[in-house]
Structure formats: C-alpha cells, structure tokens
C-alpha cells in the first residue's frame, strides 16, 4: 500500500491541493456571522496555544494552562465587580494574575522539583475550587457572578478596515482581546525567532546542556517563559469572561486549556500554524452553536457541544499518523530502492564472473 502511495506521490499532492482549496472555498462560503463567531471563539485557543508553545519551546510543558485561564477569567470579573472600572483594567488584571501564577508554578517546578504533571493537576484543582470558594465566600454568588457594574469588552470599529469589501466584515468589529491575540501571535514569532532571548529560550528547550554551558541561566529563562505563558493564559481567560457574556461562570474554561495544548502540539509548536489551527477549533466550536440554533436539523445539542473535543481527538490522531506515515514511507522507499540495487549488483557480479 505504501509502495502504491509512493508511486503516485505527485498525483497525491495534486489531490491534497485540490482538497485544501475546496475546503478553503467551503469555509469562506459559510455565512458571515458564523465566520465572525469562529474568529471570536478562536481567541482563547489562539492565546492558549501561544501560552503552550512558548513554555514548550523552553522545555517545560505547561499543563496548568486550564487553571491559569480560569484564574484569569475570575480575576477579570472580580476586578470589575461593583467597582465599575473599565473592562480593559479587568483584562490587565487577569493577565497579571496569570503571570503571577506562572511564576509560582515555575518556582515550584524548577526550584522544589515537584513532578510536573502532579503539580499541574494540583494547580488546576486548586484554581477550580478556589474560584468557586471565593465566588461564594467573598461575593455571595452561586454558580455565576454577574452584575451591571461588570462591563463587557466593547467592539472596536476600525474605519479603514471597515470599508474593505468582504475582508472588512471579516476583520473588523471585534473586541480588544481578539485583536490583542493576533498581535500576540506576531510578538511570539518575533521574540522566538528574531531576538536574543528567543534564541536562548529555544536553546534551553532543545538542548539544555548546550545553553547551560555557555552561561545561559536556564532557570531564569524557564521562569520568564512560564510567566509569559501564564500571562497569555490569563488573557485568554479574560476573553472568556468579559468578551462574550461579561460574567463569570463556574468552570467556564471547560477544557479549552487542554484543547489549546493540543493545538500547540498539532502545529508542532510553531506560532503561525498554531494560529490557523486555533481558527479551525474556533470554527468547530462556532459550528456546534450554529447547528444547535437550527432546530430544523434536529441534532441533539449535547453531541454538538462535543464537536471541539471530537475534533481534538481527530487532530491528535492525525498528528501521530503524520509522523508515523512519514517514517514508514521513507523506510519503504529505501527498502524498495535498496533491494533493486542489491539485485542489480548480484546480477552484475554473476555476469562479471
């Protein structure tokens, strides 16, 4: 079968290209509000994936993104409750909180050497419980924290953008955090690949000894990476609580942190592919809501809500298959060519004798 694939490699590539183009056209022909939803809903995945890959590239898998996101969501709302402050302050507070948790996480992992997975589970558990604890104890709320004083993030209208046909509608009118997330992708890329710190970070993640031997302070790099990672996760949380409904709900993040990690893995920890992967997940989430709102299709809501999760599993399997297939393909190619060479040789020898 692999041999077959090999022979028709060229044809297969054309097929893949056609399918890709068809998909893009298909996506673009979806209703505009669905696409807008997708871009909006992709934001936590974009930020979460950036958080995941910054930490990963520095050699530390940040499995506590879920917790940091939830913390950000909570702090953003808590900051605004009854204070009536500008929502951007809430966003900033969420980011700082996420960063602070990132520092704590880093110190516990790097200095005290607690097992990464157990630490992450403990942190996630703690945040999940602590947010509800304070929700009830400090705010007297049950299940949700909402209040008129909590203003949601306003839509931003960019005049120049608005006037561009089609793209204008697609790119204009989102709230601040959405635009920040796009900027973050660029920032992450530039930092990782064009700055000294970014190079040190990648060195630490790829060969820690190499970095240490030239005097790079590995611990410091990892702490900074985890702090930045936490900040991004906090930002993602702020979007969840202020960018859609302007309230905090128990367990708002609902597994998005884990999906963000998957996005990062799927994109092999590269910022730009991660961005597009996140958009895809945003689309899948938007789809699930969209299909729910179309009762004529008669699809059960619960199953639709599982859309992103199913997409994640498919993504995970796809990544694994890609790696496997590539390796298998190379091996089989060599095997075929090798046996051909060997046959030629022995035939030659016999002829030569």
């Amino acid at each position: 079968m692999i041999a077959l694939l090999n022979r028709y490699q060229g044809a297969l590539r054309v097929v893949a290209l056609v399918v890709g183009v068809a998909l893009i056209i298909g996506v673009l022909s979806l209703p505009m509000n669905l696409l807008q939803s997708s871009i909006r809903l992709a934001t936590p995945y974009v930020l979460g994936a950036m958080a995941a890959l910054v930490a990963s590239r520095a050699g530390v898998l940040n499995l506590a993104i879920e917790g940091k996101m939830l913390l950000g969501a909570f702090i953003a709302v808590a900051m605004l409750y009854k204070t009536g402050l500008d929502p951007l302050i809430g966003v900033l507070a969420a980011s700082i909180a996420g960063g602070a948790l990132g520092v704590v996480f880093a110190l516990l992992y790097l200095r005290i050497r607690i097992n990464l997975v157990i630490l992450a589970l403990a942190v996630n558990l703690f945040i999940a419980n602590a947010t509800v604890f304070f929700l009830r104890a400090s705010f007297g709320a049950f299940g949700t924290l909402a209040d008129p004083s909590i203003r949601g993030l306003p839509q931003i209208d960019i005049p120049i953008l608005r006037d561009i046909p089609y793209l204008g509608a697609l790119l204009n009118g989102y709230n601040a955090v959405v635009y920040i997330s796009w900027i973050m992708v660029v920032i992450v890329w530039v930092v990782l690949f064009r700055t000294q710190f970014g190079r040190h970070l990648r060195a630490v993640g790829e060969n820690r000894d190499a970095a240490e031997s030239v005097g790079i302070n590995v611990t410091r790099v990892q702490v900074v990476a985890l702090t930045f990672s936490g900040m991004l996760a906090g930002l993602a949380g702020a979007f969840l609580s202020l960018g859609v409904l302007s309230q905090f709900v128990e367990n708002m993040t609902d597994g998005r942190g884990w999906i963000a990690i998957t996005v990062s893995l799927f994109a092999f920890e590269a910022p730009i592919p991660a961005f597009f992967t996140a958009l895809f997940f945003g689309l899948s989430e938007a789809m699930s809501f969209y299909l729910q709102s179309r009762p004529e299709l008669n699809l059960p809501p619960d199953l639709l809500l599982a859309f992103p999760q199913i997409a994640t599993i498919i993504a995970l399997v796809f990544v694994a298959l890609r790696i496997r297939a590539g390796e298998l393909l190379r091996r089989q190619t060599f095997a075929i060519r090798f046996t051909q060479e060997m046959q030629k040789l022995t035939r030659g020898q016999i002829a030569g004798d």
Binding site: L63, L108, I112, R113, I114, N115, V117, I118, L119, L121, A122, V123, L125, F126, A128, N129, A130, V132, F133, F134, L135, R136, A137, S138, G255, W258, I259, I261, T262, L265, P300, P301, D302, L303, L305, A306, Q309, I310, T312, I313, L316, V317, V319, A320, L321, I323, R324
Partner: protein
C-alpha cells in the same frame, strides 16, 4: 524492626503532608470569616464522627445520657441516629475502585485519567440494563412487575440481573479505556490529553442519553427510569442490617465488599502474577521490558482494559447500590478524577488507597456539610490540592534531609579522625 521502620517511613510523609495541607488551607477559612479550629472540628465531625460530635475529642469518645447517668462510649461504634462513618464508607466505595483503576493504569506507565468517562458510561449501562433487562424477563414470564412475580423467579433475578449489569458496565468501561490506550501504543498519542478529551465526550454522550432517548419523566431535571428492584443491591440499612442504627442514613451496601474484593484481586494481580509483573516492568521508558522480550504493548493495553473495567464497576455500583437512576448532572460528580488524586496520594499502593480513599471521602463529606455553616464546600478541594502539593514535595524534603545527614556524618568522622590524630 525494619518493617516497623519502613512503615513509619511510609506514613510520616503522608501525615506531614496532610497536616501541612490543613494548616495552609486554614488561611482560606479565615478569609471566609470563620475560625479554622471550629471549621476543622465541624469538618472532621461531619465526615467521621458520630451523632452529636462537636470537637476533635468527640471523634474518639462521646458523652451520652443514659438512664444510669452520663457515660463515655467509643465513638466509631456508637451508632445512635446513624454514623457518618457509614456515609463516608458509602462514598468511599466508588472512590476506592476509581483509585485502583488509576493505580493499575499508572503502574503500566499509562498516565490515563479517563476514569470519569468510564465511570459514567458504566453507570448508564448498568442503569439501562437495570430496568430494561427485568422488563424483558417479566414479559417472558408473563408477569407485570416485581410485586407480582413469583419468589423463585425473583431470587434468580436478584442474583443474575445485577451480575449482568455489572458485567456489562465493566465491559463498556474496559472498551472505552482501551481506545486511548490503543492510540498511545500504536500511534504514541499522549494519553493524558486524550483521556481528558474522551472524558468530555463521554459526559456529553451520557448527557444526551439522559436528556433524550432514556429520559423517563418530564421532570424539570432530566433523569432516567429507576432500575428495577431486582437489580437493586440492597444497602445494609434496608436489608440485612436493617435494625442496626449505625447504618441508617447511608446507602452502604455490598458494594463495599465488592470494592474490597477488587482491591485484593488487584493487589494479587500486580504483585503475584506474571501479567502484573509485565505491566510493572513496562512502566517508564519501556526499554527494559522490550529488551527482555516482554510484550509491553499488550501489557499496557491489558492494564487499560482492567483500569476501564474497574471504573465501570465503580459506576455500576454507584447506580445499582445507591442512586438507582442517572440524573442529568450526575456525570459531573468527578468521582473518577478524585480516584486519580487518591492514587497519586497513595503512590499507587493498594494498601495506601484503602487508607486514603476513606479519608478523602470523609473530607469531602465533611466539607459539604460546612456549606450550611456558610463555608463553601470547595474548601475540601482546596485542602486536597495542598495535600497533594506537599506530598509531591516529598523528594525535595527527603533530599534536604539526606544531604544534611550525610554531611553531618562526614564532619563527625573527620572530627573524630582529627581528635584521634591529635592524641
């Protein structure tokens, strides 16, 4: 002597972790405006104490009024008005099983936390069969329902129906655990992430089933039909130990016995059989296992199957013995994940699980009751997360200790040599 020292060694860190966890969590109690001592007394009393327990001392000995005057009794056996220990053991039962489930998976090097998903799928399976199967039997026997069925039929059903339900639940759990296992073994898909996702999917599936096809009445909150009485694992307080007050208020039943049997079997499997050996050697990089010829892929998959079966069993017992139907939102109870935490705290030892699971259950139980005193029950979760944190610091603490000890010894020896040379 060495055994005792090993035991102490094994116990000291967990106890230290628990104490530290409680200490740090008291900060949160203070923030919520309550007194830590009072809160903790309430917590432990509600979780482990007898009726009328109010202080730490009451946990062991209670003062009661009798006709002959005041008397002191040993609390854990004092059952008047029901005892929290019974309720605690009822809740510990599924927890023991999910913890065993996690331990079996971890021992094979699979960091699967899919217990929640397997638990709910097992539960719904047991529920459905719990009413559908008796329906069929009654129809075949020409009988309307439980009350009109002949005693001989009922006896047979009481034995067979629960067995079938449990078996099916274990099968479903095993299969659902096998899938992420297969993905890991064949395609190296990270099982931590995949099992988390599979959990979410399972919860959605069960949510759908409860809300639509299996929905029984037009109650506000969707729920399934109740299982037939022939499938019911009658709790002690309604069955054999009806008259013993200790059990009243808790639906503790044969499920606990099953859990204990499962624990013994798991221990035997891990430490006395070749299959368990294979699985334990597969843990880690798996190089050693492959080198020695152990079929580690098969061993890991076997572990996942057993793990899934145990969680499925937990779900089945939770339904057949306690809830008797699945209500929308049941899936969020988190028993599966709690099992993971127990397994981590117990370092995957079966004995450890048998000790820590009840403690865990009691803590959560006590925390729920704190709610009525204005302390959110999430305090329980907070305490547990700190206990885990401190437990995980064990190596750090131990290392500090060893370093100091060795240095001390060397300095002492050097000093002795010096003294010896000087004279």
């Amino acid at each position: 002597m060495k055994f005792l020292r090993q035991l102490l060694d094994g116990i000291s860190i967990p106890i230290l972790a628990i104490l530290l966890g409680l200490a740090v969590s008291s900060i949160f109690v203070v923030i919520a405006g309550a007194s830590p001592i009072e809160a903790y007394q309430r917590l432990f009393c509600e979780g482990f104490g007898a009726q009328g327990c109010a202080t730490f001392g009451d946990l062991l000995f209670t003062q009661i009024e009798t006709e002959t005057g005041a008397q002191t009794v040993f609390s854990p056996t004092y059952g008047a008005g029901g005892h929290s220990l019974a309720l605690m053991l009822e809740q510990a039962t599924p927890l023991i099983l999910t913890a065993l489930s996690a331990a079996v998976a971890f021992q094979a090097g699979m960091f699967s936390i899919g217990m929640d998903g397997q638990f709910v799928l097992g539960a719904i399976t047991a529920t459905f069969l719990g009413y559908a199967l008796p329906d069929q039997v009654y129809a075949l026997a020409g009988v309307v329902d439980y009350d009109s069925a002949p005693a001989s039929l009922l006896t047979a059903m009481h034995l067979i129906i629960p067995t079938v339900c449990i078996g099916a639940a274990m099968l479903v759990g095993a299969i659902y655990s096998w899938i992420p296992g297969y993905l890991k073994v064949k395609l190296n898909v990270n099982e931590l992430i995949s099992t988390i996702i599979f959990n979410a999917i399972a919860i959605q599936i069960v949510g759908y089933l409860v809300n639509f096809p299996l929905r029984s009445d037009m109650n506000n909150i969707a729920r399934t039909r109740r299982i037939d009485d022939s499938a019911w694992l009658i709790p002690f307080n309604r069955g054999i130990f009806q008259d013993i007050e200790w059990f009243s208020g808790a639906r503790l039943g044969i499920g606990l016995i099953l859990a204990l049997i499962a624990a013994a079997l798991v221990w035997f499997y891990l430490w006395r059989t070749t299959a368990g050996y294979e699985q334990r050697m597969t843990r880690g990089s798996g190089l050693f296992a492959r080198f020695g010829g152990i079929p580690s892929g098969r061993a890991a998959l076997r572990a996942m199957l057993i793990s899934g079966a145990l969680s499925g069993l937990a779900g089945a017992i939770a339904i057949l013995g306690v809830e008797r139907r699945v209500v929308d939102g049941f899936a969020l109870s988190g028993t599966g994940f709690d099992g993971v935490l127990v397994a981590i705290l117990a370092k995957e030892s079966v004995v450890g699980i048998l000790i820590i699971a009840p403690f865990f259950a009691g803590l959560n139980l006590g925390a729920i009751n704190l709610q009525f005193g204005n302390l959110p029950r999430q305090l329980g979760g907070i305490i547990i997360s700190f206990i885990i944190l401190f437990r995980a610091m064990e190596d750090f603490l131990r290392l500090q200790f060893t370093n100091l000890w060795s240095k001390r010894r060397l300095i002492l020896r050097a000093r002795a040599e010096q003294d010896g040379a000087a004279t």
